[in-house]
Amino acid sequence: MSDPLREDTEAAKARSRRNLVLAGALFLFVVLVFAVTLVRLGGNVTSVPS
């Protein structure tokens, strides 16, 4: 008898693809936050009186 908890190959592949895309999206978010921080800090640096 097959294990009801065992995923079929197609479902496992789909889950793996989904995880990769989610990881990519999270990475992009981190990069975006980093870039936003740099741009905002850069703006503040130029506005500091010398």
């Binding site: 197609e10 479902a11 789909a14 975006l32 936050v33 936003v36 741009v39 905002r40 703006g43």
Partner: protein, 330 residues
């Protein structure tokens, strides 16, 4: 939400179209890309009209946040409305009622995207814009979707505030404030929503009645709806002209607003005098097909989209080419 009803709806839909595994396009559909494009366009106009110098990268991030926030509201709406979506021809192929995406997945996507968009907006721009974005998402998902839509024929009038806020968010993102001109853009979209939505409802009212959604034609009848469309059109067109008098719109805007407004009023008057929505089933062949007597409703619906687009495009074009606003009232 009534889980039993949803399950029955899903089962009924499955009989029409067998569910297949979710694709990325299904998740993209949850974000209502067509609504999102209009939101992005009006928000971008607000951002540009604020007239403040803005880092282009931060401007792009602000627009991205508003787009993602709008998408998040769409996903939350599709999660909650799966039961009524399954009963309407226009919406029954959506990913959740068609069984291609689980309701819980749509909810998760909506919540996660809401949090990310609001957080990023706050960090990248300012917390006024982030607060307005959070309010808009909550208003659309909770006040409109969960409450107004199912309980009052004024659903799209009050709920229309959510769709009208993006230009104000854009303005707040660029400038950190929301002056009267920003709220004038809000007013234009707010007053545009009832004639636009009710024109569509006049020839899809059978669907709304089947789903138990008290849209104006279902609750008050077609004649009352046509009268109210005329009334809102009479309020909307002067509001659309107003930016030419408040230092927001220039000569291009005034021309577009006046010419388009005249066409809009003409079509609203034709609709008011027509019998659109009176028949048992005004629909014709195809998803958006209508029978001859309902065509005035379809014409106003189509022109309403074009007119709103033209108004905001004119404002955007004037700012891009550097055309000075008219300021007819000083």
């Amino acid at each position: 939400m009534d889980v039993t009803t949803t399950a029955q709806s899903l089962q009924a839909t499955t009989e029409v179209e067998p569910a297949r595994a979710a694709r990325w396009s299904d998740y993209a559909l949850l974000l209502k890309p067509r609504v999102m494009s209009l939101v992005v366009f009006t928000a971008l106009t607000g951002l540009v009209c604020a007239g403040k110098p803005l880092n282009p990268f931060l401007g792009a991030v602000a627009v991205l946040c508003i787009a993602v926030g709008a998408g998040a509201s769409g996903a939350l709406n599709m999660w909650f409305d799966a039961d009524i979506d399954a009963k309407m021809r226009r919406t029954r192929a959506r990913p959740v009622p068609a069984g291609r995406v689980q309701g819980a997945d749509a909810l998760t996507l909506g919540v996660v995207l809401s949090l990310f968009s609001v957080m990023l907006m706050g960090m990248a721009m300012n917390w006024l814009a982030a607060g307005l974005l959070a309010f808009t998402i909550a208003f659309y998902a909770i006040v409109y979707t969960m409450w107004l839509k199912r309980f009052t024929p004024q659903n799209i009038v009050i709920g229309g505030a959510a769709g009208a806020l993006p230009p104000v968010i854009g303005w707040a993102a660029a400038s950190g404030s929301t002056p009267l001109n920003a709220w004038l853009l809000f007013l234009i979209v707010f007053l545009w929503t009832p004639p636009h939505s009710w024109a569509l409802a006049l020839y899809t009212s059978g669907d709304y009645a089947k789903a138990g959604v008290p849209m104006m034609p279902v609750a008050k009848g077609a004649a009352s709806t046509r009268r109210q469309i005329m009334l809102y059109s009479l309020l909307f067109v002067p509001a659309a002209l107003a930016p030419a008098f408040t230092g927001l719109g220039g000569p291009i805007y005034l021309t577009v607003a006046a010419a388009g407004g005249a066409v809009f009023l003409l079509l609203a008057a034709r609709l008011a005098l027509s019998k659109a929505g009176d028949g048992d089933d005004p629909r014709g062949e195809g998803l958006y097909g209508v029978k001859a007597d309902a065509r005035p409703a379809r014409n106003l619906f189509a022109v309403s989209i074009l007119y709103l687009f033209a108004l905001f495009a004119a404002l955007l074009a004037e700012r891009i080419v550097g055309l000075a606003p008219l300021e007819l009232i000083r």
